[in-house]
Amino acid sequence: MNKNFLALTVAASALAFSASAAVSSNIVGYVKVPLKLGLNLVANPLNNTNPNGNKISSLFAGQTCSVLRWNGSGFGSTDLFEGVVVGGVDGDLAPGEGFFADMGGDVSLTWVGEALVGTQSVNVGANNSFVASKIPLAGTATELGLAPADSISALTWDNASSSFKSYDYFAGAGWIGSLGEPSFAVAQGFLVQSGAAFTWTKTFTPAN
């Protein structure tokens, strides 16, 4: 294996690092993202530094779909027909942002880019914020460092029922309610409802 290039494969919701390989400052890999007919709440977990690498048209190349991004008060829609943007803005989808992909059928996309490591921060606003882990790791909210000072709801989207499941965090008491603590997959976006803005920070250092 090239010592300056560690390819990491993210399958399903797990991220596996090769313990024997040398690790360069840039960890490049790919993620397979299964999307189903209808609305999927997802995120781009890898930073593609190629020109236009994080553009909607790059991530959804060849697809006919709509990408819905939260603007603070509603959704802005970017429509693609066979990969060509025919409506809305072909914006950048950087790691940390959750967004809806409204698909015309089931498909599995492969997204390529650098895994962000070290200390990464996601700014979560007051009221509704659609977010995701910047680091391509799967795990519980606690494992991913989501433990704010104030109460929040973390809502995960269920494609089959077209509705959210609400996981409620009560400051001082932890994850309460019948659903307990949420777990997040790689490339999974979710909605956070918070009374105040806060910074979600996670530090991750891959083993050499």
């Binding site: 006919t64 429509d79 009221n127 077209s162 509705s163 959210f164 499941k165 409802q193």
Partner: protein, 181 residues
């Protein structure tokens, strides 16, 4: 198929999924300008102090204004609190509401040690909670952050026998007053 028809179909599928208003029934939040969470409080005690309704006895339910129970427990026994004064009811669709328009629900709370249902509890309260612009399935309105809900305090509901005695007393006073005249 015409490409615009495909795009329109996709767009419509998204729109149809959030046509009705949806709310997220969790209240551990501070209303705008407040320093305390919008909790359910027990009755005010003899010295005027209130405290959060205990989770062991507190029950709540959310209803549409037509009386339809929206929260998960539908048999009238209510949903238990998950912490003192705090409920966690998940997302609920308000029937007949429209995304972006005002919508209201009825929140009922009671002390189940004084009665198993809202109707027969001796300590209870209800409030109409209004969402000025209710969110949809893809962006539910938070029960506190997106509404006028600032909390709820239980009241002591007089028992029927107590009310009957009071009525008799009032009638007696009226009768005495008439005889003096």
């Amino acid at each position: 198929m015409n490409k615009f028809a495909i795009i329109a179909a996709i767009a419509l599928s998204g729109v149809s999924s959030y046509a009705q208003g949806v709310i997220n029934g969790f209240n551990a939040f501070k209303p705008t300008g407040s320093l305390v969470n919008a909790i359910v409080n027990d009755v005010v005690n003899d010295v005027g102090v209130t405290s959060a309704l205990l989770a062991a006895v507190g029950r709540v339910e959310v209803l549409a204004l037509d009386g339809t129970v929206l929260s998960s427990v539908k048999d009238g026994s209510g949903n238990a609190l998950v912490a003192p004064g705090i409920f966690s009811l998940g997302t609920m669709t308000i029937p007949g509401s429209t995304v972006g328009q005002p919508a209201s629900v009825l929140l009922r709370a009671w002390d189940s040690s004084t009665g198993s249902t809202y109707a027969n509890a001796l300590e209870s309260a209800s409030i109409t909670v209004t969402f000025p612009t209710v969110g949809g399935a893809t962006a539910p309105s938070n029960f506190v952050l997106a509404s006028n809900f600032t909390g709820l305090t239980l009241q002591i509901i007089p028992e029927p026998s107590t009310m009957a005695l009071a009525a008799i007393g009032v009638a007696g006073l009226f009768f005495v007053a008439r005889r003096k005249n």
